[in-house]
């Protein structure tokens, strides 16, 4: 470990691997990627959905909030009480831009990795359908659609018959769907493998199965990363530590950043013949059939520290939600379940870029539910930051600023 690197990336998940890849393309920098797969790391737990619009408007993982809302509405109706205001949880416009820019990079990224490096991360154009069961669902969908008038060309409504035509296995009880035609999917493991392998082929040194144990600083400058195999010296460190980013930041700067684990459980079916054309989101769960035929169902949103155990009531909720949407699943088997730890932030926006008071340190963390999706744009931006170039998007709203996390409405999940 005597080499001095220009850049060391701590964390080799979707974001870290993407940074390694984008930094390595010009083959001019000495880059190292240090990675240790801690239990629950989000990259391996991910469904692999590229749901730029879906995640930005509170579908996909935001469903628990909605389900509670539906319950409130039913109860209010029965008690003759007032209905609480409908409030789809929509992220700010700059996040939409961030997510959509990244989304648009995937087709060419897919081709580039295939042609130059011979790896295929199974990019699949599927669309994402929000399947509606009742008028509450439809009202919610209407609210979402009205919040994104500038994206109306990506939103397609399907009535019950059209939905059945496109998705013959969806329950006949569904009344229709709202389809985000630009939301697709990849194989998350293959995506990270692709970034990592391409980076390696471009000359990045991979320190895999290697745990970071500290950061070396001189004054207010990062000069190296300590690992359980020795110290790696560097000019710049990229914090891509996922749910563990806060500890890395503290080692480097003496301060923590508000990135914390948000647990999500997943149910996976056995390998099945193709029963879905596109990805589906309902008020109970999201469902995606992967390229090898397994149907993946997620997810929960729980703040349980670093706990990654599966719990039966939550798994039942997901399995029942999936069976309700695709009744044919009832006779199919669940092959395994797992849980991942999303790197959550209170305002649900990633933390990117340099920080005041420390040189040689760049944040690339807090990607919450969209690490896979936003890996491409993050890698692009980090590459630009390291080289002092003008960034593709305005970095300001993503920089760490304690003011971001003040006066927030309480989180929707618990």
């Amino acid at each position: 470990m005597n080499k001095n690197y220009d850049v060391v990336i701590t964390g080799g998940g979707a974001v870290g691997a993407a940074c390694a890849y984008f930094l390595s393309r010009e083959k001019d920098l000495k880059v190292a990627l240090v990675d240790f797969k801690k239990p629950g790391n989000a990259s391996r737990a991910s469904a692999g959905g590229l749901w730029a619009i879906g995640e930005s408007v509170g579908l996909g993982c935001g469903v628990i909030f909605f389900k509670t809302l539906s319950k409130q509405m039913n109860e209010a109706k029965e008690n003759g009480g007032e209905l609480p205001p409908l409030r789809p949880h929509q992220l700010p416009d700059f996040f939409f831009d961030f997510a959509l820019t990244s989304n648009n990079m995937f087709p060419s990224l897919h081709e580039e990795l295939r042609e130059k490096h011979n790896i295929d991360f199974k990019f699949e154009e599927t669309g994402l359908k929000f399947v509606m069961y009742d008028e509450h669902d439809r009202a919610y969908a209407d609210q979402i659609a009205s919040g994104i008038p500038h994206l109306s060309d990506q939103v397609k409504w399907l009535n019950a018959d059209e939905l059945r035509e496109e998705e013959p296995y969806v329950t006949p009880e569904a009344i229709g769907a709202m389809n985000f035609t630009c939301d697709h999917q990849v194989s998350p493991f293959l995506l990270i493998d692709s970034y990592t392998e391409a980076a390696r082929q471009n000359g990045v040194d991979l320190y895999l199965n290697t745990m970071v144990t500290g950061v070396e600083t001189q004054g207010n400058r990062v000069v190296g990363v300590r690992t359980d195999k020795g110290t790696i010296s560097c000019n710049t460190m990229i914090n891509a530590g996922g749910a563990w980013a806060s500890q890395l930041c503290e080692w480097a700067t003496g301060h923590t950043i508000p990135v914390y684990p948000v647990k999500g459980q997943i149910v996976l079916s056995e390998k099945l013949p193709k029963i879905m054309r596109g990805c589906i989101s309902t008020s109970d769960c999201y469902i995606a059939q992967k390229d090898n035929g397994e149907v993946l169902i997620g997810s929960t949103t729980e703040e349980k520290g670093y706990d990654t155990t599966n719990t039966l009531p939550e798994l039942k909720g997901l399995a029942q939600g999936a069976s309700k949407c695709l009744p044919i699943l009832k006779e199919m088997n669940i092959k395994r379940t797992w849980a991942g730890l999303r790197p959550g932030t209170r305002d649900e926006i990633p933390i990117l870029g340099p920080m005041d008071g420390i040189e040689g340190y760049i944040n690339a963390c807090g990607h919450f539910r969209t690490g896979i999706l936003c890996s491409a744009i993050t890698g692009t931006l980090i590459n630009e930051i390291v080289r002092g170039k003008e960034t593709t998007l305005d970095l300001k709203p993503f920089l760490y600023d304690p003011k971001r996390f003040e006066d927030l409405e309480p989180p929707f999940y618990g």
Partner: protein, 131 residues
């Protein structure tokens, strides 16, 4: 009627029968579907999702290589399932093959699927008296 040729000790009087690939075979209470299959000297039991023909390997329910279709339900472990009078066992039965599709081929409609699954319940022919 399939003859049991590989029993180590006689099964005695049998009041119950199962069907293995539409052929009846005498069975005894307490035995597993796998022992009935082995008793009639069959060892090719399933075709997996990759078109490999497999037979029993571990005998104790962990290798998933002895899977049969029982009364229309796919992927039942024959080593762990006890026989029941009238049970219909189909060997070499694979959902992918029965649906006639491969991964990533265009979707079949659910009507096709249900029809195919339903038809696998019925015997191919009325005449099931083969000795």
């Amino acid at each position: 009627m399939l003859n049991r040729k590989a029993d180590i000790t006689p099964i005695g009087e049998s009041q119950i029968q199962i069907y293995i690939d539409d052929e009846p075979v005498n069975v005894v209470e307490g035995e597993t579907v796998l022992s009935a299959i082995h008793a009639v000297q069959k060892n090719q039991i399933m075709q997996n999702d990759y078109k490999a023909n497999l037979g029993a390997y571990c005998g104790m329910g962990i290798c998933h290589s002895c899977l049969v279709n029982i009364d229309g339900k796919y992927k039942q472990r024959s080593c762990k399932t006890l026989i029941r009078d009238g049970m219909r066992v189909t060997t070499m039965s694979n959902r992918f093959n029965d649906m006639g599709i491969k991964d990533n081929q265009p979707l079949v409609t659910s009507a096709d699927f249900e029809e195919k699954v339903a038809s696998s319940d019925q015997p191919e022919s009325e005449d099931s008296n083969v000795n």
